[in-house]
């Protein structure tokens, strides 16, 4: 096969699963069509496409915000023009595995807020649950429509050096990034219009429709046109772009807390023609801030009294309140047990081995092996508050240990997993960079649907293993082939 200069230089990282090259340094079948297509393009042309992509992101305002020392900086999410490709067979496993996991997590949330069988049977230690700040006693015995708690999930997957998929974390509260999945596809269509149909890439554009269908189905009022709103914290939030995008694609109102009011245990939206009852709220505001009457009284983002409307079933809230107890990183290690317990099945997707630092022996083991570990806070996301043992210096490690000892419950440790690598077009040549995958699963009364694809995040810095956008990561269009 003909390969232009900029493609022959690719050097796969040894000991790492490469999405494009197999162990014999041959291009895997599912990458061949794309690579042969791209090889025919001149470097100049590819540079132009890269520039075009950058401009499209800029002009469309596809941004996110990074917070550092209290200041927000709006950034373009770096986009790599080479798609990440997943075969139909790989996807089947991912899809089945996520459906299984999410089914169990939903059952867990229903159980933990009602009968607590899983605690009584000793599968999950009670103190792990009762010490979780997101285990909300306000949700106890509160029935949610169709017993669905996680309507939208972003399950982070990584691949180890053998190519096996692992779940890195479950995001069950306000998973973000799906707008980048949609925008990345739109950009790819602009850059390589004929490539997508040639390669039989499955479409992701159904996502807003499925979400909208599910939201409508949750309406407590049996009417033909229930009012669905997207509740955003506001323009200063890192994911505000996403909130506007999803509201626009679904054709629902984008509101903030001050636009809503509760009267007689029903939620209303203030409109120019008076109050309009709201049936379903897709909220991107944290639990703690949702109702100043019940939770944080200082919240200016929430709606006072919304909890009573929710409890009475007069409004549906998506995702459900109190989901944080299921995606707490200390609970994460019990998910395989949950799957066995509730479903009587073996987990299809593996968990990364996790050490609970609240247990003295696991803490000592972690401290002794800290150079090969990643230590994380149990309730943070976005790569904040994390220690990468192999990259940290003595002082950083000592400081972090002190933090851990203050409240060991809030920390877990995992062995550093060597993430798989995929080719990226960087400075005119193809270079391997580490990636993960976040598919978005939607759970409605009809079951769980996952659009074939997701957000592939990439650690653009050479040698880096951190893919979070807040930590200098970028993203790729993610193709699932038929």
């Amino acid at each position: 096969m003909y390969q232009s200069a900029h493609f022959s230089e690719y050097n796969a990282i040894s000991g790492v699963w490469d999405e494009m090259y197999n162990e014999n340094h041959n291009i895997r079948e599912h990458y061949q069509r794309v690579i042969s297509y791209l090889s025919k393009e001149s470097a100049d042309n590819l540079n132009k496409k890269e520039e075009l992509a950058r401009r499209l992101f800029m002009t469309q305002g596809i941004t996110f915000t990074v917070y550092n020392s209290g200041e927000g900086i709006e950034k373009i999410f770096p986009f790599d023009i080479i798609p990440r490709i997943i075969t139909g067979n790989e996807w089947k496993l991912v899809e089945k595995g996520i459906k299984q996991r999410l089914t169990a997590l939903n059952l867990f949330l229903r159980d933990v807020y009602h009968d607590q069988f899983i605690i009584k049977d000793g599968i999950i230690p009670i103190d792990v649950i009762y010490s979780c700040p997101h285990f909300l006693r306000e949700m106890y015995q509160l029935d949610v429509p169709h017993d669905i708690y996680v309507h939208i999930a972003g399950i982070d997957l990584i691949r180890d050096e053998k190519g096996d998929f692992y779940v890195l974390e479950d995001n069950l509260r306000t998973p973000s990034g799906v707008s980048y999945m949609l925008e990345n596809r739109e950009i790819t269509k602009r850059l390589f219009p004929d490539l997508l149909p040639q390669c039989n890439v499955r479409s992701v554009t159904d996502y807003p429709n499925i979400l909208y269908k599910n939201l409508m189905a949750l309406s407590p009022r049996q009417i033909s046109n229930p009012t669905v709103v997207l509740l955003s914290p506001g323009i200063y939030n890192s994911a505000y772009f996403e909130h506007t995008t999803l509201a626009r694609l679904m054709g629902v109102e984008l509101v903030e807390g001050r636009d809503l009011v509760v009267s007689n245990h029903k939620v209303y939206m203030k409109t120019t023609t008076g109050l309009q009852q709201v049936d379903v709220i897709y909220r991107r505001v944290d639990d703690e801030f949702l109702d100043p009457l019940v939770f944080n009284p200082a919240s200016v983002l929430g709606v006072a009294g919304i909890m009573s409307a929710y409890r009475k079933g007069n409004v549906a809230i998506v995702n459900a309140i109190g989901n944080g107890v299921a995606d707490d990183k200390a609970i994460y290690s019990y998910v395989p047990e949950m799957i066995r317990y509730y479903l009587n099945e073996e987990p299809l997707l593996k968990n990364v081995p996790t050490y609970q630092l609240r247990n003295a022996d696991e803490r000592e083991y972690t401290f002794a092996n800290i150079n090969t570990m990643v230590v994380k806070k149990t309730n943070e996301s976005g790569g904040y508050g994390m220690l990468m043992g192999h990259a940290a210096n003595e002082q950083e490690i000592a400081d972090y240990k002190k933090e851990i000892l203050k409240d060991p419950r809030n920390f877990i440790a995992q062995p550093t997993i060597s993430l798989s690598a995929a080719p990226c077009y960087l400075q005119g040549s193809l270079q391997p960079r580490r990636i993960d995958l976040r598919p978005y699963a939607l759970c409605g009364p009809d079951g769980i649907e996952i659009v074939p694809g997701g957000l592939t995040r990439v650690a653009l810095k050479e040698g880096s293993l951190v893919v979070n956008s807040s930590q200098g990561g970028g993203s790729k269009d993610t193709w699932v082939l038929d």
Binding site: Y130, R137, G234, P292, P297, V300
Partner: protein, 330 residues
């Protein structure tokens, strides 16, 4: 069987007109074998619909909203309650066995919540006190009474020096406070000794004058004793809480039980008056009444504390900016 007619009035008076008021009330006396409600009327400005539910701790909780502009909000709760004295614990089981039984409750619902202590700066100091106070071979019941007396003797009952926002550490350093502070300190001490302890809010209805906590809502603690169950002890009056104590709610601490709380939109300044009066069945004419004005027992959405009153607009904007950024987008 004493019968009490209790009137509990909560009156908010605002500087200007306010709107979109949302409130939560925990004013429904517990009904069980020791206490029965014969009659309860709740009258609220604007006659909003009060919806009630039973919370995690078994308390009846009501909530309502009042959207129209208003300059005052009055919540008037009138209850006719009958209480039955309960027998005190026989305390016959050997002490060591009782402590063992308590140890076993550590990982059991609901006790787990009533054994967890909040962060407390003066913990080492407190632990020394507990060590000193605790006698060998004492039963949990005896220990509880001893600690109750310790709080009663070592803390000054001084209304006005603390608010609902005063931390436990501050109370400890002040060595003074009101019933709710006394209860919190006692609860902390009990939990450190592995005796499940919970917070109780209610009314004190002594048939004689001179008990602390009259004229306002009262608070005390309940301890869980093996082979007995929950027993109320009142560190403010150094006594077992029996038929003279009417229970409204139980929880981990004050915020689980706060009798009335609310948020509203509008001007910052407001005055809160709480008045509790008790009429006794055997002396109906001799009503025991007093008024107390409490510092802000409510939370204001727009602006409140003195530090910020200078520019509530700017304060609101700052909160908005900060909180919008804080929201986790996972």
């Amino acid at each position: 069987m004493p019968e009490f007619k209790i009137q509990h009035i909560t009156r908010y008076t605002y500087e200007g007109m306010v709107r979109d008021s949302a409130n939560q009330v925990i004013l429904f006396p517990i009904v069980d074998v020791h206490q029965d409600v014969l009659k309860h009327t709740l009258t609220i400005t604007g006659n909003p619909v009060v919806d009630t539910y039973v919370d995690y701790y078994g308390n009846e909780v009501g909530s309502f909203t009042y959207l129209e502009k208003h300059s005052r909000l009055v919540i008037n709760s009138e209850v006719l309650v009958v209480t039955k004295p309960r027998e005190l614990p026989a305390d016959a089981m050997p002490a060591s066995e009782q402590w063992q039984k308590l140890q076993a409750l550590q990982y059991i619902v609901p006790y787990i919540d009533f054994l967890k202590h909040e962060y407390f700066e003066a913990l080492p100091e407190l632990q020394t006190v507990i060590e000193q106070q605790k006698q060998d071979n004492e039963t949990p019941y005896q220990t509880a009474l001893r600690l109750c007396e310790y709080v009663y003797r070592n803390f000054k009952y001084l209304p006005g020096v603390t608010t609902v926002e005063t931390t436990l550490t501050e109370v400890w350093n002040l060595k003074a406070g009101v019933c709710q502070d006394f209860a919190h300190i006692l609860i902390l001490m009990l939990r450190l000794l592995n005796i499940p302890a919970r917070y109780v809010s209610g009314y004190i209805c002594p048939n004689r004058n001179g008990m602390r906590g009259e004229g306002a809502t009262h608070a005390w603690a309940e301890v869980y004793l093996p082979d007995y169950g929950w027993l109320g002890i009142d560190p403010t009056n150094n006594c077992v809480a029996n038929e003279t104590h009417v229970r409204l709610a139980v929880g981990r601490n004050f915020s689980d039980c706060s009798p009335v709380k609310g948020v509203y939109k509008g001007s910052s300044g407001h005055m809160l008056e709480v008045k509790v009066s008790v009429e006794y069945q055997d002396q109906p004419s001799n009503s025991n009444e007093s008024t107390s004005i409490l510092p802000g027992n409510s939370f204001v959405q727009a602006a409140e504390s003195e530090v910020f009153t200078t520019n509530s607009y700017r304060r609101y904007r700052e909160a908005l900016l900060l909180q919008q950024q804080q929201q986790q987008q996972q």
